[in-house]
């Protein structure tokens, strides 16, 4: 008897602690723990945004005149015969057979393999070499910092860095500067880098890329929003709230969407992850009454399984009309969630939920080709890797280098095989 009583009490305690956990997290605890993080990150984002906007305006403006309607900015035009035409790297040669160190975020997705491909191309052309390494997953921040530190100690001619976490690498960047090793950031910029440590940043203009996603999604759901009787919901799954590129992309999407919705005379509110809610600008509605709700979800870890759960929670809601996955992992999470829910499609008026992805990979490409996913924005990892090696070579030669933003391109079932787009769509 006694044993039974003890076990019943214990399990009661387990349930009680569980309920207590639920209660407090919904209330003050979570809010207070998340708040400082958000306020720290916010200035970083706002600092970064003008920088990336300013860069194309000053440096890359002449080149953009020649560009097509979709892909604006610099010579990051993948379809060009000569990738270097119109850039500062035209005619560049290496003064020496440099050896660079490259630290990527991980080898997790095919995205990084495309970047490696670009690096190989540039290295071949210039006659330089590089050693690439990266942690097992994009959340292994400490591992990456260790790799960066040992790369600096190795004394390479320069370092190419795609930082998992933009604040954790600051000390290492100072060390690199002290050791006179030039650093070129690619894929992700480091906004607070010590002066003179990062000689150039080759990165997608993530804010612009997020905006592209919002524009195309809004086009598809515009009528649905206009004709909606009650509230409608647009979801966004971001893999994390720490990496600058994901932050910019997520906010670019949110802010653009707010702007577009408001322009058509509807009210909008942002809910979900506190970082994004606090950083979003221009939302004018209340969660209970707004015409459009943008709900942002962030999983505990950057795995597809957890992104899937987060996407499912949003997709399961009756009023969800569209959803955006802001990188390859979260976009695949959308698709995995949809394999149970079967809500995604291209016919918004007919009741399909519009799914928009980011990056490529065979799963996303397949979904776009068969119409499950409405479309996606791709970066050019290949070009970023390519330019990064060029920038490093120029810096190693002793010349100054400037930032080089590359664009995000919209692709869907119609244009994905176009010569301008296809090379960026890695498997």
């Amino acid at each position: 008897m006694k044993k039974k009583v003890v076990s019943v009490l214990l399990s009661a305690a387990m349930v009680a602690s569980l309920l207590a956990g639920c209660g407090s997290s919904g209330g003050s605890t979570a809010a207070s723990s998340a708040a400082p993080a958000a306020s720290e990150a916010a200035p970083a984002a706002s600092e970064a945004a003008p920088a990336s906007e300013a860069a194309p305006a000053s440096e890359a403006a002449p080149a953009s005149e020649a560009a097509s309607t979709e892909a604006v900015a610099a010579g990051a035009h993948a379809g060009d015969e000569d990738k270097l035409t119109g850039t500062e790297f035209e005619g560049l040669t290496a003064n020496d057979a440099y050896n660079f160190a490259v630290v990527v975020k991980s080898f997790q997705s095919t995205y990084w393999q495309a970047a490696i491909k670009g690096m190989d191309m540039a290295a071949d052309e210039l006659g330089v070499t590089y050693d690439a390494q990266g942690p097992n997953s994009e959340s292994d921040i400490a591992d990456q910092v260790n790799m960066l530190n040992s790369a600096i100690t190795g004394g390479p001619a320069g370092i190419g860095l795609a930082a998992c976490d933009t604040t954790s690498v600051l000390d290492s960047l100072q060390d690199a500067k002290d050791a006179n090793v030039p650093v070129v950031c690619f894929d992700t910029g480091v906004a607070d880098a010590p002066d003179g440590s990062v000689v150039a940043t080759v990165a997608t203009d993530n804010t612009q890329a997020g905006e592209v996603a919002a524009e195309h999604m809004y086009e598809a759901v515009k009528d649905v929003i206009a004709n909606a009787e009650g509230q409608v919901r647009i979801g966004e799954v971001n893999q994390d709230a720490t990496a600058l590129n994901i932050q910019q992309r997520g906010l670019g999407f949110i802010n653009k969407m707010i702007e577009l919705v408001k322009a058509d005379g509807k009210t909008v509110a942002v809910t979900g992850n506190e970082f994004y809610v606090n950083a979003a600008e221009g939302a004018d509605g209340e969660e209970a009454s707004a015409d459009v709700i943008i709900e942002v979800a962030v999983p505990a870890q950057t795995t597809v399984e957890l992104c899937t759960t987060e996407a499912s929670t949003i997709l399961s809601k009756e009023d969800c009309i569209a959803i955006f996955g802001s990188n390859q992992t979260s976009a695949e999470g959308l698709l995995a969630a949809n394999s149970n829910l079967n809500l995604l499609g291209s016919d918004a008026a007919g009741g399909d939920v519009i799914g928009v992805g980011f990056d490529a990979g065979s799963v996303i490409k397949g979904a776009i080709a068969d119409g499950t996913m409405y479309g996606a924005v791709t970066q050019s990892p290949l070009m970023m890797g390519y330019y990064m090696i060029y920038a490093l070579t120029k810096a190693a030669n002793g010349d100054s280098v400037t930032d080089l933003p590359t664009d995000g391109y919209w692709y869907n079932a119609e244009n994905m095989n176009d010569a301008e787009i296809a090379p960026n769509l890695y498997d």
């Binding site: 399990s11 997290s25 399984e305 987060e310």
Partner: protein, 330 residues
């Protein structure tokens, strides 16, 4: 004195009540959670966690542990997937290779523990690292997508989920429940009605007395780890069906869901006690928390904290149980 065996049963049923309460609680708070599609989604990830958990129940009962199942599972899925996707082998070859790979790693773990006498924690921790590296190597660092449902070779998805119709009219049938039910019934039988099961329990309860009864404990000790490896191999197929792209370098941490489920389900952390049906129920507790907490609007990090707390609760029950048993034995 009260029978100790009864008490283990008690815990199992109490956990079942917790499962029902949790499900009820989430369903009341979130109407989206209550949907069939949510259940099907939860089952998708339950299959591989459950398969791992059933397997790891055996080493746990011997008083050991197998930490290599999470990274192992990803490693086998990468290897099999690479063969299918990049080298053009049919799906069944990939699946077979994945399962056999798991079996071999299981035997390897068993030999380290049983013949070389390494502590299970260390031996399988090393295997965890090895499989993590090996998986990335096997896939040449590529993220590996297995064939999708509609692609040629995607039939294996239908072992777990059968989809009728397409687009928004499609409905999913979680046929994996039936497959798993068969597996569970078989494993309940293996644990309770075969020599492997009987001696697995005996080794966990008193290895030396078992050896001195003339039992070849080395072989049966290896067998327990082999079962764990085999099930990690089977889990890799379920994992490939649930996750669009298998990413190299991942999988660490997934073993904790499985081991946690087994412990919550009444497997003694010190060995000697445990049941397959208990593990099944325990895994559902973990999976319900993982799925349900986001639905009631809880920050993702809270899941992990709460899951950890539930585990502590289960271990406390286990420790108290052993203390009681020690007193009763005097």
């Amino acid at each position: 004195m009260e029978n100790k065996k009864k008490f283990v049963l008690e815990q199992k049923w109490i956990v079942l009540i917790i499962v029902i309460l949790l499900y009820g609680f989430f369903s009341i708070v979130s109407k989206e959670f209550h949907k069939t599609s949510t259940m099907v989604m939860m089952l998708d990830s339950t299959y591989y966690v459950l398969l791992m958990a059933i397997g790891v129940t055996f080493p746990l009962i011997t008083g050991g542990v197998d930490l290599s199942i999470g990274t192992g599972m990803v490693c086998y899925a990468l290897t099999g997937g690479y063969l299918v996707k990049f080298l053009g082998f049919p799906s069944w070859v990939g699946m077979l290779v994945a399962v056999l790979f798991g079996l071999i790693v299981g035997i390897w773990n068993g030999c380290l523990v049983s013949i070389l006498g390494l502590p299970p924690f260390l031996a399988t921790l090393c295997s965890c690292m090895i499989t993590r590296g090996l998986g990335s190597m096997m896939a040449h660092n590529f993220a590996v997508p297995w064939p999708g449902v509609k692609e040629p070779g995607g039939w294996f998805h239908r072992i777990f989920k059968y989809t009728i119709g397409s687009g928004r009219k499609a409905s999913n049938y979680p046929v994996g429940v039936l497959v798993l039910a068969v597996v569970i019934i078989i494993m309940i039988f293996v644990l309770n009605h075969t020599r492997i099961g009987r001696y697995t329990i005996a080794i966990g309860s008193n290895k030396e007395a078992t050896r001195l009864s003339g039992v070849n404990v080395k072989i049966y000790h290896i067998a327990a780890y082999t079962i764990s490896g085999l099930f990690a191999g089977l889990a890799s197929v379920a994992y490939a069906a649930a996750v669009p792209t298998i990413q190299p370098g991942t999988g660490a941490g997934l073993e904790l869901d499985a081991i946690g489920g087994a412990i919550v389900g009444g497997v003694s952390a010190a060995g000697g006690y445990g049941s397959v049906e208990g593990t099944l129920i325990g895994v559902f507790v973990i999976q319900l928390l993982k799925t349900g907490l986001p639905f009631i609007g809880l920050e993702a990090n809270w899941q992990q904290i709460i899951t950890g707390l539930v585990l502590i609760g289960a271990v406390i029950v286990d420790v108290l149980k052993q203390r009681k048993a020690a007193l009763a034995g005097d």
